[in-house]
Symmetry: C2
Subunit: 597 residues, 2 copies
């Protein structure tokens, strides 16, 4: 029931064809990362994901975490799995080598992270939060803080958290009230934080909380927030654990999904105040947060990919096994399994096509992050960073938005059994439900996309991307699409999508901020639909070329063509409607008074 | 938190303008049902729904039902509520007067049922199943069976169930194996049935199970299934309860939602065989089932409407209360509630527009059912029945399909709080999840739509409906749409949708059965989108006329116009994409081999 088989063939294809693996590995700093090493890492990770993490995933869901007087106990098997995870070096794999990480390119760690998320999303969040905290301390912490915290956090002996949200401060960080008061070389923190993922648990010796709080002289709003590191146990100079800090897990939440991870209410400073140290400059906490935002948002987008793939695998297996009814057009075949039913096949094809398109987009963006980080040419780095900044809200918003529908279709394919919890299809749907909310809701991503990424350069970055995509469509045509009806259909659909994207972008650049905001989410969906459609078209072109050369991998490559064509006929077909909604939707969206709702 | 306020204003509008309430009440047989009586019934029902059923809805979800050695105990308050429900005569309201019902028109009972479903969907299922059993016994039972069972079932002292599904027989009823063997004037039934809604509980004195089973001489497949009535307690000649029958609830399921209702595994004949009586002719059980199918499917479609409206009300309240961030375009306003944020408003408008469109479609169909049942002119009856048969799969499939997205958006509007179970937004999403599965999945509805309803008369019924809708679009234009940009936009969008629907219908009529089946669900969505769009356009037209006449209800009527326009710009815009998917989607949907998935 908890079977998960990482799709290594698909992942390697996406890393090479969309992420540009060869170019990434050729960059200075990646000399030791060879093709063979990458494949070995993926295979090792695949074993850990399917053998260790996937089997305890349902247990995490049913047992959940237990809270008792501030102590949180994880589900059976989680402690053991986490200790194996750290012993194998997986925790620090994406972190830099200076403090014990393996310094893998983002593209490689993205593929590995996909496996953790697909096999056990709740478990994977612990590492994800720790990586975020490591990144913040690495970039903004003093040398002393780095020396004191990073080695154990990268090793995984200590885990990390982000304490951002407060009851009155969700998407609106300006409303944060938690206080920090100077006390010698450190600060005393007091306040209540909610929705703290892995805020308390029993898998690690210490938990290093990063906390957003206000200093007494802080200006109001987001320009008055500072970042502090507050360990659960104070750390002595020799690295050993000292006293318990004045912070406690007041309760944990009862959630729709990701039951295997505790979502904590954290109470700081019920006594003299939790001791914390400033990270970065006073009042500049938000800038420190932004440092890790791109990785964090990529990773949540990746959760959309991962949980969708898991749901797809489960539905596929059920459809291959379940005998029910006769198959239209396959009369006479006995024991018809439901994968033969056209509508079941339609749902499976939709799931498969979207998962591959989403993976293409996520891995493409990860590859660009590696270029932005380590390419030798500064202008290439800059160009890649601009592209990353533009794409991150799309990856986060679109992949998670898709995941809601895909995991729900996974339930649907199971029919009545899908509604029964023991079947397991439900967990993926419930787990997926958080992904469009945390790390910035879809609305927040869309506002970032149109408010900052699209408009701050007058649409230049988007127009350059559109030009690149347009050139690829023309190259697809030039490469013989006219004699290949499938490629021609794909090229037409992408071309049409690009026209819609251009029109919507132009409209938004001219619109009032409020009208633009009304169209922000439809625009984000349009961006995801078209940009991922372009990538699937490239995949189809690559597959066609290889097939023409007699590549032995014919079944896989043919499937790539058909899947890209499916995406064109079932997903890209929606591009015009999204554009129309952007162009004509604001007046009705904003047309009623509050009282008319 | 469990607030529910039945939207009586909206309901009455839909009953009058879409259901044709005046015409229904003018029919022979409805003499005693006056306008005033209808409004009084709705107001009474509204009080019961909001005061009695809504407050125990969350408790049903959290406590669920408990099974102990065959005995099922419902959540606290359910027994009491059920007894009040029956004492007030609500249970038998839709049933005929011959055995104690109130014989209300379907249109009126539909509005009342919407309130039960919105306030407490799990609770409402008990009546729904009882009504189905009453309908089957009324139409197909012997006079003795009718006399013996109907009065107590209509009163609600006894409840009813439908025992259809078996582990190997879900959508495929041909695979049913439960056996019935003649034993004097009755039969002995043995077999296992699953997914039996309200199959066992503590709210009524007796439970009357309708069971599909095979006689020893039954032909194979669906033409060998007979229908039996199997009471939990045998009923003596004087109506008193006798011995316990040989049937038991073996267990109940752990489900995604509708926890307040027990979904039972029923074991018949572990001893000498459960005693049952044949309903209707031997081997004609499926025909008996079809009798109640239209009402049952209308009612599940109505669940889509109801649970969506409940989710909308909850999200609206949260958006009106929650202070977060600044409102774009409303700078300076302090305490900005999130309903001012354009994207929150977009989601709320989408929910509102879809709910009203779905209600319009459901009530329109209910009104046609009343015409089909009781209009004095036989050709009007026949025409209405044809329309009902065409629309039922659309009501069921489209309204429930929409409900998944709407209830999920309800969670989204709550942000992080939406993911927390105590908030209550989750329950509506989880409850809604069954509606696209039971009473025939969306795929089954779509196959019924294209395989039977569209094609059996060569598309005549659909073409006639399209012609009616087309004429209305022209009348909308003639009525002055040219001087009214909003009406013009709506007319254009509906006209465009009708073109798409015509093209898709024509294509399906000419397609191979397998290709057609691949496009069945997109076609069903297209039908729902366009037909409900036509109804919202009619609502806008009515509202415009009334406003021109100086109707005092200006805010409501203006909202109707804007909401219809929103539907046109945000939902009808998707019609072309659905058509394209039907026309071009089959090759890719059916393109892969099983091994390529």
């Amino acid at each position: 029931m908890n079977f998960y088989s990482p799709p290594l063939h698909e992942m390697l294809f996406a890393m090479k064809e969309h992420g540009g693996l060869d170019a990434v590995l050729a960059q200075v700093g990646n000399e030791e990362v060879t093709d063979d090493l990458v494949e070995a890492i993926l295979e090792e990770a695949s074993r850990f994901a399917s053998d260790v993490l996937a089997p305890i995933n349902a247990r995490g869901d049913t047992q959940g975490c237990r809270w008792n007087n501030g102590v949180v106990t994880t589900a059976d098997g989680f402690r053991h799995a986490y200790s194996g995870f750290c012993d194998s070096g997986w925790n620090g794999m994406p972190s830099g080598t200076e403090f014990g990480g393996q310094g893998m390119p983002t593209l490689v760690s993205t593929a590995v992270l996909e496996m953790w998320k697909a096999s056990n999303m709740a478990f994977s969040l612990c590492q994800m939060l720790t990586l975020g905290a490591v990144e913040a301390i690495t970039h903004h912490g003093s040398e002393e803080l780095r020396q004191r915290y990073l080695p154990a956090m990268i090793e995984g002996r200590w885990t990390g958290t982000m304490n951002i949200t407060e009851p009155q401060a969700g998407s609106d960080l300006a409303a944060i009230r938690t206080k920090a008061i100077r006390d010698g070389d450190h600060y005393r923190i007091s306040g209540t934080k909610i929705f703290i993922t892995w805020g308390e648990h029993d898998m690690a010796e210490n938990i290093i909380h990063l906390v957003l709080a206000r200093l007494p002289d802080a200006p109001p709003g987001v320009k008055g927030i500072s970042l502090f590191v507050c360990p659960k146990f104070l750390v002595n100079a020799d690295g050993s654990l000292g006293e318990r800090n004045d912070l406690v897990c007041a309760s944990i939440e009862h959630k729709i999904g990701i039951h295997g991870s505790a979502t904590a209410v954290m109470s700081f400073g019920e006594g003299p105040g939790a001791i914390g140290w400033l990270v970065g400059e006073p009042h500049k906490g938000l800038a420190c947060m932004f440092t890790m935002m791109n990785h964090a948002r990529l990773n949540v987008g990746l959760e959309g990919v991962a949980i969708s793939d898991r749901a797809y695998q489960k539905a596929r297996q059920f459809a291959l096994d379940r005998v029910q009814g006769k198959t239209l057009g396959r009369e006479g075949a006995s024991n018809a399994t439901i994968i033969g039913h056209p509508d079941v096949r339609r749902m499976l094809m939709d799931m498969k096509a979207r998962v591959e398109a989403m993976r293409a987009l996520a891995y493409y963006t990860a590859g660009q992050m590696d270029r932005a980080h380590g390419h030798e040419d500064p202008s290439t780095r800059q160009k890649a960073q601009t592209l990353v900044d533009l794409l991150i809200p799309v990856v986060k918003g679109w992949c998670t938005d898709n995941a809601l529908g895909i995991t729900s279709d996974g339930v649907q394919i199971h029919g009545g059994m899908g509604f029964i919890e023991e079947t397991g299809a439900s967990q993926h749907m419930r787990d997926a439900r958080i992904t469009t909310i945390y790390e910035g809701t879809t609305g927040i991503q869309a506002n970032d996309l149109i408010g900052r990424k699209l408009t701050r350069d007058g649409g230049a970055a988007m127009k350059e991307l559109i030009a690149t995509m347009q050139a690829d469509v023309e190259s697809l045509r030039a490469a013989g699409a006219a004699e290949d009806a499938m490629l021609e259909g794909i090229a037409l659909a992408v071309g049409n999508g690009l026209r819609a994207l251009t029109e919507a972008s132009d409209w938004l650049l001219a619109a009032s901020p409020r009208d633009a905001a009304a169209g922000a989410v439809p625009y984000l969906r349009l961006c995801g639909t078209v940009i991922a459609g372009w990538l699937t078209a490239r995949a189809a072109q690559v597959a066609t070329l290889r097939l023409a050369r007699g590549d032995a991998d014919a079944a896989f490559l043919n499937a790539k063509r058909i899947t890209a064509h499916h995406y064109a006929m079932h997903v890209l077909t929606g591009a015009d409607a999204l554009r129309d909604t952007v162009l004509h939707g604001a007046s009705t969206t904003l047309g009623l008074t509050d009282a008319q709702f």
